[in-house]
Subunit: 145 residues, 2 copies
Amino acid sequence: MIFSKACEYGIRATIYIAQQSLNNKRPNLKDISKEIDSPEAFTAKILQQLVKGKVIQSVKGANGGFEINNKKMGKVKLKDIVKAIDEDFDYKICVLGLKLCSELRPCPVHHKYKHIKAELKNMLQSTNLLDLSDGLKDGKTCLRF
Amino acid sequence: MIFSKACEYGIRATIYIAQQSLNNKRPNLKDISKEIDSPEAFTAKILQQLVKGKVIQSVKGANGGFEINNKKMGKVKLKDIVKAIDEDFDYKICVLGLKLCSELRPCPVHHKYKHIKAELKNMLQSTNLLDLSDGLKDGKTCLRF
DNA sequence: ATTATATCGGATAAAATTATCCGACTTTTA
DNA sequence: TAAAAGTCGGATAATTTTATCCGATATAAT
């Protein structure tokens, strides 16, 4: 509802890759789509977008797969993942779809929604991959079903 | 992004009808889609759903159109409009698309998102049509562009 | 070098959402 | 009672999103 399916898969995939990278492993497409329970071919497309967007790195050939530079992990934000997949994602957008909605010329829901929008923006800008992959290793959080 | 286009049109249409009803006017399809700048035929479909969902009433024939019972206006919530159009809209849904995500078995974003979800739920359940149509009459709020 | 294992990239298909068209029906007004 | 002004409902089309397939290409291991 807030994210597209592609984005959902993309975020879940990235979190899994992050956690595996921290473990010095390099999962491939099959591993990933199995782990996050997503359609393999569709996931491949999304991973390509994430590579283009420099959120993850790919390694071709035998023993290849996808990985994330461990040192950069704290700097990759949820926003970066979303932007890599839905280029025109925008949390500034009006909840009723008005192009010109603003503080000065608000839609009827604007003032009721702006706090939510601000929190959403904050979450996307501040949450990083370390935060997200943290709960995974000890099974506190899940990526599928 | 959070609502479908159909929902956006539906909410805007309902707010306009509400404000006109308070003024003892009864706009028809053409009036409405002109006022909220939406495709006429598509808007017709959405208005039908709102009638079925008892959010608005329709009056056929010459001088007909759409209206809302003034006395019920304070009881019609944003949630009711959304539910009439996206039957399976659900603010409880997991932000990463997991069916079983919960407090006990959270996805990695769950705890970061749950406050936002709660506010969203609150907004949808508490905001009524009087709140929404209020700013319209004196031009404080807008419904198009 | 050859082979096995991967990603990459383009074409295509399926499904959902958004949008249009039009004939049927209903109600008011003249 | 006829005409005009509306909504209703079904069929259909266009667009976007989701999903699949497969040949090309790159890399590691043997």
